[in-house]
Amino acid sequence: MVQFAIRMPQTEGGCPEWTMVELQGVLETRDSSGLPGNRLGDLHFTKGGQPILLIGHHVLHGKVVELEKPFAVLVKEKEKEKKDDSTDSMDTGESADTVTCSDYLVKAVIRNKLVFKNRPRPIINLTHKKGH
């Protein structure tokens, strides 16, 4: 069995908390550049706490949902192979068997997510007016 060692970052104030964005749809780019590096859009919150996401000429209205189980964002660290055995919650027996053992660092914890289920609304006029 393979064993993973997951470590908590050694930072003050515990690990940072992130938020997940869930879209019912696909994000695409017009050119072949792909998503990385591109600006996705703007996220706003209304006074009532409702998230509004602007993507291209679309407006998405969503809501904040608390996850049943919090997620952890792990980052694999290959360099520190076998350096230190995992001292954590996972089964340690497996890691002992594998020769190459990955090290995982908890980057952040996710407790909430922003869900955008609804059909996006176009914002042509708005943008047009802005442009004009």
């Binding site: 393979v2 695409e28 017009r30 050119d31 072949s32 550049s33 990955s102 943008t127």
Partner: protein, 955 residues
């Protein structure tokens, strides 16, 4: 009027009187100083005569009415009144001593006399009276003064005043009314007017009342009342006596004339008969009351009765057998087979409510045949209560309906023998269409309810209220009036044949016998013929003759202008009579002396009696046409037919005159309709008279009903609509310049020639330039005038091209030969060319419109750039809409470069290099405000992103 028996006596008395009242006379003498009194002093002695009479107990006879006792009584009463109430209305009666009783009394009574005599004097002897009265009044004033001054003198004054007051009682001329003649000592004759003193006294008495308010009288009933009673009784006696005498005389007269009616037994009946003979019409008096008395045709009577009996089941709930039986019995000699067949027909059809199929009986026939009488008699005979509606009643639809419903659905509850109603509508041909429609509704309503009945109980009950359950009998003179058209098929139509003249004459003879008109059967038959068997007219004539007190002889009948009804004649009759000179057959009604008399009378009679003379013809036509009243139609008929009439007119003078008259008619009619001066209407019939004089021939002309007017009108509206259709689409330039009539009359006929140039029958491709020009000109012209050719299939099955709209019909007269037409091929070519040209034009128009629209936009854009701030607010809506397009164009730019790859999570990593190479451009775009990233929404349920990750990746 017994004169005074002896005039010596009064004189004796007078002597005594003077002796008795010497002192008073002295005073009188003193008073002679009063100016103006002296002249009358002479009369004093005469006057003494007068008031001496009442004084004497025996001489009270002066009053013609011998009531001395009462007189004395009243005098006493008067006296007592005076005594108790010293201040009476008579100014001089200031008497206080009881000893003067008699004197006072006489004064009192005399004063009333004087007053009356004064009045009379004014009338009879005016010259003397004013003086005397003035003097008397003057004297009274003075005496009044003296009375005030000295009480003791009053007595003398009163007595002395007496003769002065009574002086005017003597009249030198005989007065009106009762009077007494008297001769005085000079031998002069004087007249004394008699008065009913008692009346005056009692009247005066009634003025006096006791302190208790009770009238002053001795008897329990006042004398005046007693007298009135006596007078009344006497008058009543006299009236009764005179009545008795007149009755006696009448009876005697009747017996002498032999008119005593055996049938009318009682004296009262006789009286009624005598009265009705004077006041009522014989027609009413001798109206048949029984079925058997009816004069009209037996078959008609029977049919109507049978029809009415068919209602029995519906109205009375009786079975029909009951009525069928007598019908069988009676079926005998009378009934002709036609009536029998009708009867059978009637019996056959009944509807669900057991009513006869025909709900209405329609009696028609000329006036005076007894239609109304028949309806009444038969309805009564069949056990109905007759309710009649007449022409004199209000005939608006509402009232009509109300009355019909009242008559058919209500029933008299009062009276000993309440019977169901039977409605008789008299003169229904005069009712307006709306009223007839109401009647039809009521008749039909029952049919509906009969059908709808089984469907629902509630509905049925509601409708049952309106169901006609009573017979209706309609009576009309003219069956073929327009308003009756729909009623006719629904009703049992009974034509009244003319009455049998022998029966009619027999009845007339009976009437004549009863009313003691001496006549004979031949005369009556002649009368029947002359009145066209009009019963009413016959009876009226008889009564008229009777009222003149003469006997009816044959010559009378022939010379009389009776029986000529003001009956409306049909239009064809009118036309025919206008175009035909009447034959002289009617002359036989004239006596030689009547001709002369007739011309003097110069009225209807002339036209009736001698229609062959010009004057007679003139009057006849005038009467006929004005009686008909339909001037418009009459004139149209004349216009249509007058050229066909058989008249001789070499120089067409008559025709021109006729045309003049038509012009006159038009003029008058125009004015009448224009400014409603209907007084001119009276001149219209003279047109017809003129036509008669101009065009009448001896033979009957062939008349045709005037239809040209209608046809022309039809054609005109047709043409107008055609023109409207064409002008609607015509080019505005032409339309604005051409008036309607000018267009039709001047432009179109020429235009239709213009649009028919000659073409070579070759393909249009082979036309020369000139021909092509010609062609295009034609096309343009036709389009400008909204003309084209359209293919149509003629009734024979051939296809042809016709002008659309077909103005050729509008411009061509019907008897003109049709114009030369273009060939089929040419028309086809033109039609096609026009179609193409139109399309081309519309295209061009569209193009130009499209071109035109952007240019202003550009302009605004240019100007908008110049003055951005001001133009911003004024941007039209459509611009705002258009603007997004530009944005989409801008968005499309990157879309052009789009290769259609599906971007997945893996791809970014793979294409990292490529994307990085393009990043500069993409960033540029995103910097512009729009990211390259766009969102694609996935419809439906979102699947959680599940991705298989091999463990190697994690290791």
């Amino acid at each position: 009027m017994a004169a005074v028996p002896d005039y010596d006596y009064p004189y004796d008395y007078d002597d005594n009187f003077e002796a008795d009242f010497a002192d008073e006379l002295e005073v009188l003498d003193e008073m002679e100083d009063i100016p103006g009194f002296k002249p009358s002093s002479q009369e004093k002695s005469k006057r003494s005569l007068k008031f001496s009479t009442p004084k004497d107990k025996g001489e009270v006879k002066l009053n013609g009415t011998s009531v001395p006792a009462e007189d004395r009584q009243t005098q006493k009463r008067d006296l007592s009144a005076v005594f108790e109430l010293p201040e009476t209305d008579e100014e001089d009666n200031v008497v206080s001593s009881a000893s003067k009783k008699r004197r006072v009394m006489t004064v009192d009574s005399n004063q009333t006399d004087i007053q009356d005599a004064d009045d009379d004097d004014f009338e009879i002897t005016p010259p003397s009276s004013p003086n005397i009265i003035a003097k008397v009044q003057q004297y009274r004033e003075t005496t009044g003064k003296t009375a005030d001054q000295s009480a003791p003198q009053a007595r003398e004054q009163v007595t002395s005043g007496r003769p002065a007051q009574s002086k005017s009682c003597f009249l030198r001329r005989p007065p009106s009314g009762k009077f007494v003649t008297v001769t005085n000592e000079d031998g002069e004759r004087m007249y004394l007017k008699e008065h009913e003193d008692t009346l005056h006294d009692s009247q005066k008495l009634s003025g006096h009342t006791l302190p208790g308010g009770r009238p002053l009288q001795l008897l329990s009933v006042s004398f005046r009342q007693l007298k009135d009673q006596v007078e009344d009784e006497r008058r009543r006696k006299i009236v009764a006596e005179s009545e008795r005498i007149t009755r006696e005389i009448n009876r005697q007269l009747d017996r002498d004339l032999g008119t005593e009616d055996e049938e009318d037994g009682g004296a009262s009946d006789q009286e009624d008969a005598g009265k009705s003979a004077q006041t009522g019409l014989w027609v009413d008096k001798f109206t048949p009351t029984n079925y058997t008395e009816l004069l009209s045709d037996e078959g008609t009577n029977r049919t109507l009765l049978t029809w009415l009996k068919l209602w029995d089941t519906a109205v009375f709930g009786r079975e029909r057998k009951v009525k069928k039986k007598p019908a069988d019995q009676k079926k005998g000699q009378f009934i002709n087979w036609q009536a029998k067949r009708l009867e059978e027909e009637l019996v056959q059809d009944e509807d669900g409510l057991k009513r006869p199929q025909k709900k209405v009986a329609l009696l028609c026939g000329p006036p005076g045949l007894g239609k109304t009488t028949l309806a009444h008699v038969i309805a009564r005979h069949a056990g109905y209560n007759v309710v009649e509606m007449n022409a004199s009643d209000d005939r608006s639809a509402e009232v009509f309906k109300e009355r019909i419903e009242a008559a058919t659905q209500m029933k008299a509850v009062m009276g000993a023998d309440p019977r169901p109603n039977c409605l008789v509508i008299d003169e229904i041909d005069g009712a307006p269409q709306a009223a007839i429609n109401v009647l039809l509704d009521i008749i039909k309503r029952k049919d509906q309810s009969g059908e709808a009945g089984p469907q629902g109980k509630r509905r049925r009950r509601r409708r049952e209220g309106g169901v006609l359950l009573r017979p209706i009998i309609c009576i009309c003179n003219d069956l073929y009036v327009l308003s009756l058209r729909r009623l006719r098929p629904l009703s049992l139509v009974l034509h009244f044949p003319p009455t049998d003249s022998t029966r009619l004459a027999g009845r007339l003879l009976e009437i004549a016998r009863r009313q003691s008109v001496r006549t004979d059967m031949t005369t009556l038959l002649a009368l029947c013929e002359k009145t066209e068997k009009d019963i009413r007219s016959c009876v009226n004539t008889l009564q008229f003759v009777h009222s003149r007190g003469t006997d009816l002889s044959l010559s009378d009948v022939r010379s009389m202008a009776v029986g000529q009804k003001d009956q409306q004649k049909g239009l064809f009759t009118v036309w025919q009579q206008i175009f035909q000179v009447p034959r002289q057959k009617r002359k036989r009604w004239n006596n030689p002396h009547d001709v002369a008399a007739g011309q003097q009378r110069a009225g209807e009679d002339v036209s009736v009696t001698q229609p062959h003379t010009p004057a007679g013809r003139f009057q006849h036509i005038l009467h006929l046409t004005s009686g008909n009243g339909e001037y418009e139609k009459t004139c149209q008929g004349l216009f249509e037919n007058y050229l066909e009439a058989k008249f001789k007119d070499t120089y067409l003078d008559a025709v021109t005159m006729g045309c003049d008259w038509l012009g006159f008619y038009d003029l008058v009619n125009n004015i009448i309709s224009h400014i409603q001066t209907f007084i001119l209407m009276r001149y219209i019939p003279y047109t017809f008279v003129a036509f008669h004089m101009l065009f009448a021939g001896s033979t009957a002309p062939k008349l045709s009903y005037p239809s040209s007017q209608y046809e022309c009108h039809q054609k005109m509206t047709e043409t107008q609509s055609l023109r409207a259709a064409q002008q609607g689409e015509m080019s505005a330039v032409i339309r604005s310049r051409v008036s309607q009539s000018a267009f039709l009359l001047e432009l179109l006929p020429a235009l239709l020639d213009i649009i028919q140039p000659s073409f070579r029958p070759v393909n249009s491709q082979l036309f020369s330039a000139k021909e092509k020009q010609q062609m295009s000109d034609l096309i343009h012209t036709m389009i400008a005038y909204n003309l084209t050719y359209q293919q149509e299939r003629s009734p024979e099955g051939q296809y042809q091209y016709l002008l659309e709209p077909n103005m050729e019909e509008a411009t061509r007269f019907s008897d003109q030969p049709p114009k030369k037409q273009l060939t089929y091929a040419a028309k086809q070519l033109i039609a096609k060319e026009i179609e193409v040209e139109k399309m081309r034009r519309s295209e061009a128009l569209l193009m130009s419109r499209n071109r035109n629209v952007p240019t202003p936009e550009e302009k605004t854009q240019e100007t908008g750039q110049k003055s951005d701030g001001t133009a911003e607010g004024a941007v039209p809506n459509h611009l705002a809409k258009l603007q997004p397009k530009k944005i989409t164009v801008a968005e499309e730019k990157p879309a052009v470069d789009f290769f259609g790859r599906v971007i997945k999570k893996k791809t970014p990593e793979r294409n990292k290099d490529a994307s990085s190479s393009n990043s500069s451009s993409s960033q540029k775009v995103s910097r512009e405000g729009m990211g390259t990233v766009y969102y694609k929404f996935n419809e439906g349920v979102s699947n959680a992103i599940r991705k298989n990750i091999p463990i190697q990746d994690l290791l």
